[in-house]
Symmetry: C2
């Protein structure tokens, strides 16, 4: 995930350059966490190491984050929101909500599992950081509402239905990260979710299992 | 959940009475945790308090459980497995898998949320204690396979599909516990899951929203 998306060192700091000092320090810590977690792995990474990489005192770290777990989750969601925005941009020419939902779900899972450490950070933080989760889910909600307007999704799209869909994606993510499922997990989850939304079984299967073009975000 | 199901003090100890000493001590700690967690709540409960209630030394606690979180999750799953077994027994006369899945899902959610402290313990432990989770999910799997044999579920029932269904139930549990959904969450989740499995939208709606008879387990 990082390798393909967060190519620029200091991407969080760059995005925060017009914020106040606290926001910029927070962003610098997040950039440092990307480096340290990628270099040392989650288990070996430490708050000390992240603070040192960011060139701030340990105490400064704790003004912004509770622990390593929290900064990792926050960074993972920062990356995920970036991925979601880029996927959305890549789908400008796709109008059909069935195609959009299938494309986004499968690509998102592929990207989120391309670096297992970030995938796990995302998964672990999903329930703990609801406000960040919401940023990613907003893209899903927009496509579900689009499908409702187009008449291809035949069920009310309320917060509960969106959560159900999101939980299916998270379960597929868990299955891939823990090795109980391979790349087919994205297609399986997509097929089941499209059926749930009222897409015909035949079309759900066809769209979900169609060969997925490579993606350069 | 406890109030309706774990009525007998010492239920875990009673079930473990023919086990070796280690198993009996573990069960006594679990019974103590039920009492202390019900009396003091999760936040206020302590390992000290649980060990004292069980009349064992603190060190003995740590031979069996890592922390308060782990014993709470283990107890919650013990209760959940008991609830699942009783629901299964209550459904002896129900042959149709669509009816069974709807009944069990909705009743399970009602019971799991009747005591929020236990509901949260169950939810928190769901990913952390996969072996215990499996005990509960086994009932779900059996009914999904039954529906496949009966021809009412029109999709392959593999581990992935079972996990998808279970994650929908957990998401409904989360929505109820966090107050973003009320009692209708069980019906909504059931309707969406039945559609996913290939039950017609009309039947899924009818079965999932039918008035649910009270239950005395």
């Amino acid at each position: 995930m990082t390798s393909r998306v967060m190519r620029a060192r200091g991407a969080f700091a760059a995005a925060a350059r017009n914020q106040r000092k606290a926001g910029r320090t927070r962003a610098r810590l997040m950039d440092a966490a990307v480096q340290v977690l990628a270099r040392d792995g989650f288990e070996a990474a430490s708050v000390n190491g992240i603070a040192a990489e960011a060139e701030v005192a340990n105490g400064t770290f704790y003004l912004h984050f509770r622990d390593k777990e929290e900064i990792a989750g926050t960074v993972a969601f920062g990356i995920a929101a970036d991925v979601a925005a880029r996927l959305d941009a890549a789908m400008t020419d796709i109008d059909d909500a069935v195609e959009r939902v299938s494309f986004a779900t499968r690509q998102f899972l592929n990207l989120a599992t391309s670096d297992p450490a970030w995938g796990w950070a995302l998964f672990r933080a999903a329930w703990a950081l609801p406000a960040l989760r919401e940023q990613v889910v907003a893209y899903l909600r927009a496509d579900l509402l689009r499908g409702r307007r187009q008449g291809v999704f035949k069920i009310e799209i309320d917060a509960f239905t969106v959560e159900m869909f999101a939980s299916m994606v998270m379960t597929a993510l868990f299955a891939r990260l823990s090795g109980t499922a391979g790349e087919e997990a994205g297609s399986k989850a997509t097929e089941l979710a499209l059926r749930m939304l009222g897409v015909s079984p035949a079309r759900a299967r066809r769209v979900a299992w169609r060969r997925l073009a490579g993606l350069s975000l």
